[in-house]
Every structure is written in C-alpha cells, then in structure tokens.
C-alpha cells in the first residue's frame, strides 16, 4: 500500500512542524483574550500525534494556525518549510490547497454535491487533474467508500461521511492531515473504524497526522499524545 501512494514528504525526513513560543491573542470587544500562551511543539514527518485537552485549552486554535486558517499573533510556526508568520492571506490559502488536509468533527461535506464531487472539488481547487489516480482509487477501496461516491451526504451514514471527508482531505496528498475530533459525532463502531483508517494511512502511507480529541482511547491510536491546558502544552 505504501508503494501505491507514497507520501511525498517522506523523501525529506525531519521535522515537518516546528512551533516556538507561539502566542495567539483574540480581541473580544475591548479585551485581549490569549488562546495560546507560548506553545512549543515539534512534529516529525510520518508522526501520528494526538492533542488532548479540555475545551478552551487552545487545541483548536493550534489546529487552525497549523492549518493556515488563522495567522499566529507572535512566535514562529514552520509547516513543511514554510514560515506561517510571514504568509499573507493568499499564502495561507495556498498552504491549505496542497500542504494540509482537514478532517472535522462535523464532517463538513458540501451538502449539494455528491461524495465523489466533494472529493473532486478538492482536486479542482488544488489544480490537480480531476480524475483520481489509480493509487487514490486504492485508497478509496481502503476507506470502503468506492460504491458510495454517487450519493449526496444526506444519504450517507456518519461513518461514511467521515470516510469521504478523510478521502477529500488526503486526495491532494498533503504533507499533514489535521483531524479535529474526527470521532466526535460517531458511534463506537464507526469511531473505531475511522481511527483504524487514520492509523492505516499513517502506517501504510506515512501520512503525518495531528488529531485533536477529548477521548483518551482515540488518543491512544497516536504515536504520542500532547496535553494542553490554558493555552499551553503541559507535558
């Protein structure tokens, strides 16, 4: 399987994410609210890292900054050799196209498009050929969704929707897969299936994965777990 869809970043071993003294301060009315208070984090290529913490601990903010959805306030964030502190809005848009892929708790599929088109639009936006490669067809079989591609999200179960979302997130072969509570809306059986898929993608394809979760059992699928509290990494 790993030979079928090689991770392009595996040819450059080393740290894919380097974060130093990261602060993120939101302005709420006239009050500054720090969401991250000096976070340091390093993630190696091919690593499956779980980030655990209570609500408000800053893990989603960290996720959003690494994914280029919002800029850092201060500190250094390097993702796949790009300094996110210096990226413009357009630069962060480019980062989201090819370097990171997102999997959300609420699946976030486009409701008007079929599952297949949800995957295709990610390729279209990234500017890659619309017809998936043979290798990606194999990934679809691994995700067991090949026969569900003509259905719209409202005709799919939660587990199927999340597997489509995973397929969409990796269709452009991103350096990093960011999963925010990917099992938060799933039952036990589907949660297990999704977590095993993530582990499979990591082990077989060498896909770097950062997963946010509340669930210690889900976190156990990662190589290591980072705990966050009050905007800081606590271990």
């Amino acid at each position: 399987m790993s030979s079928a869809l090689p991770n392009p970043d595996l040819s450059h071993p080393g740290d894919i994410i380097e974060i130093r003294d990261l602060w993120k301060i939101y302005r709420v009315g006239k009050v500054d609210v720090p969401a991250l208070r000096g976070v340091d984090l390093t993630v190696k290529r091919g690593e499956f890292l779980a980030i655990v913490g209570p609500s408000g601990s800053g893990k989603s903010t960290l996720f959003n900054i690494i994914g280029g959805l919002t800029p850092p306030t201060t500190g250094t964030v390097r993702v796949a050799d790009q300094d996110l502190g210096t990226l413009t809005d357009a630069g962060r848009t480019q980062l989201r196209k090819r370097t990171v892929g997102f999997v959300f708790q609420k699946f976030n599929l486009l409701p008007n498009l079929t599952a297949g088109d949800n995957i295709a639009i990610a390729r279209y936006i990234a500017g890659t050929p619309l017809k998936p490669s043979a290798e990606f067809e194999e990934v679809l079989r691994l995700l067991n969704i090949a026969n569900r591609l003509d259905h719209k999200p409202n005709a799919l179960s939660g587990g199927e929707q999340q597997r489509i979302a995973i397929a969409r997130a990796i269709v452009n072969r991103p350096a990093i897969l960011l999963a925010d509570e990917p099992t938060g809306n799933l039952d036990t059986e589907n949660s297990k299936a999704v977590l095993e898929i993530l582990r499979d993608l990591n082990e077989r394809l060498g896909q770097t994965i950062l997963m946010i979760t509340h669930n210690p059992e889900a976190a156990a699928y990662g190589h290591q777990t980072v705990h966050m509290r009050d905007g800081r990494i606590v271990n």
Binding site: R96, F102, N112, I121
Partner: protein, 365 residues
Amino acid sequence: MTGKLVLENLKHKPMRSLLSILLIGVPVTLILCIVGLSHGMLEDSQQRTRGIGADVVVRPKGSSFLSLSGAPMPQEMVNFLAKQPHVKQAMGAINLGIDGVFLGAAGVDLKAFNEMNGGFRFVEGGPIQQPNEILIDTFYNAQHHRHAGDIVNLFSHDWRVSGITESGKLAHIVFPLNVLQGVSGNPNHVSQIYLRLDDPRNTDAVVKYLKNLLEDYPIYSTEDFASLLNVNNIPALREFLLVIMSIAVIIGFAVVCLSMYMAVLQRTREIGILKSLGASKTFILQIILAEAVLLGIGGTVLGIVMSFGAYWLIQTLVPASFPMVIVKSWWPIAGAITLLGAILGALYPGLSAARHDPIEALSYE
C-alpha cells in the same frame, strides 16, 4: 466543476432560485412590452399611412409629423392641390382620436378613397350605404366584438356597422367625410390631404414644388412620412425607454443582491469548507457571480417567454388600442441590461462571502 457546484447550489433551493428568476424576468418583460408597444404602434401607423396609397401627404401649418389637432385645413385646398402639376388625385381626410384608440377614427370621401387605393377589403358586411353607417377594421372588431349590422355608440350617436374591413388602411373606424366633419364640428375642413401623382417618380419634385407654393405647410412624401414614425423620432420616447431600462437594472440589482445575500448567509458554512480546501477569494466570488449570471440568464429567458404571454393578452384583449409587436432585436439588449443588474447585485454578497473568515464560517450553524 465550478459550473456543477453553481448548478447544484441553484437546484438545492429551487423555490429561491425560481422566485429570483421570476422577479428578474418581470423587468425584462416590462422592457420588451414597452418596446413592443412603441414599435407596434409606430409600425401600425406606418402601415396605415402606406395603405392609403398616396404619394404625398400635406399636413396643416405648424403640425408635427406625430400629431394632428382637429381639422384646420379648409377643404378648398383639396381642389386646389388636385390642380397642381403631376397631381392625379387629391383626397382630404379628417382624423380623430376616439374611444381611446390610437389613430381611432377617420373620415374620407369613400369614392375618392376607393379610387386612390382600390378601397377596403371586407371580411364581413359591405360598403357604407347610409349616412349613419360606419366601417370598423378587424382589430376594432377583435377588441369590441362588433359585427356587421351591430350598433356602435360614438360621439353620443348610434351608428350601424355596415362592414368589417381588413386592417392596415387609414384607421380603425371609418366615417363618410362630411359625416365626421359634422359630428366633430369641423364642417368643410380636413386634417390632412393625400395626393396621388401621375408617376411616383415625380414625388420628390412635387414635394419640392409644393413646399415653395405652400410655405409653412409640412409636406412629405408618404415614404418619408412613414419613415419618420420610428422610436428615435418620437420626442422623449428614447428617454422614457432609458428610464424603464434603469428601473429594470435597479430591480435586477435589488433582486439578485437580496437573493445572493440570503444565499451567502445560508451557505456561510459551505464557504468556510471551500476556504478550508484552499479556495481563494476569487474562486468564491466567481461562484457567486456565476450563480447570479445563471439567474440573470434564466430571468431573461423567462422574461422573453412572459413577453409572449403579454403579447397574447394584449392581442386578445385590446388589439386595436395597443398594436404590440415582438421585437427580437431587443432580446439581447434586455438580456445585457438584466445581466448587468444581476452582476452588480451579486458583487456585494460575493465580496462579502470572499472576505468571510474561514474559522467563523466553519463554526456557523
């Protein structure tokens, strides 16, 4: 892929899409009806003028080509003009607006009229035999449902319809000249005089000659007179059309702006999803504009279809009062005006969508 997304978005809320298309289509229909009515009325006037069979038209002093007020020309002028070089026949006519009908009634010497152009073609009944009889044309018949032998009340008098003529000559209602002169209080006067020449090739020379002879009288060849009856020569008609087009742009703008603003609100989360996939501001704006353009095209097509409906209604209910035509050359103009309104209307919601913060958009419920 963009096209597919836009189409699916439109299909996802069919009622919103259809209502938007309908509301965009209404001003298109409005434009096409106004244009169709202006062209129709003028073409109808041209046809009726040409149908008289004259080569030259002599109009009263100070009259415009468009309107006549009363019958200020003494009838002796008819005989005077008949004696001029190359004039084979002169015929006076009195024109009166009547019953709300454009170019409603005309009075002519029916013998002279028959001589000038071969006379009316009857689809029902026959020529006027009595002074209390009138002719009506097929348009008037269609609008008022009167038949040969029926009584029509005009000028507070009852008139018997002696016949129904094919439309396209003179007016919708025809009286004997002296009768209409009498009931309108213009005895021995006419509204205009038609001249038939010995040879139509002499028209320009005769017009020139008569203009020298009768200074201040507007004198036209029939063709020149008919060609003056077009949209560009009607005072304020162009301005009126411009106002209607501006209203159409504003309505199109408002409808699309509101519709797309709602759509953007409803799809805030989807915009966030697209942004998480790396969609640029341009891509988002492009989707919104493409959707507006599709609505605009749909509105234009529906507007054109509805203009046929309006045409049918007008032809059925008031064909004589409003001789409307379908002016196909205005379809692209109406379409362009609509698309302009639609694109302008989509710009604000489109830019607002493009500027959405992806995190806020993703957390939108």
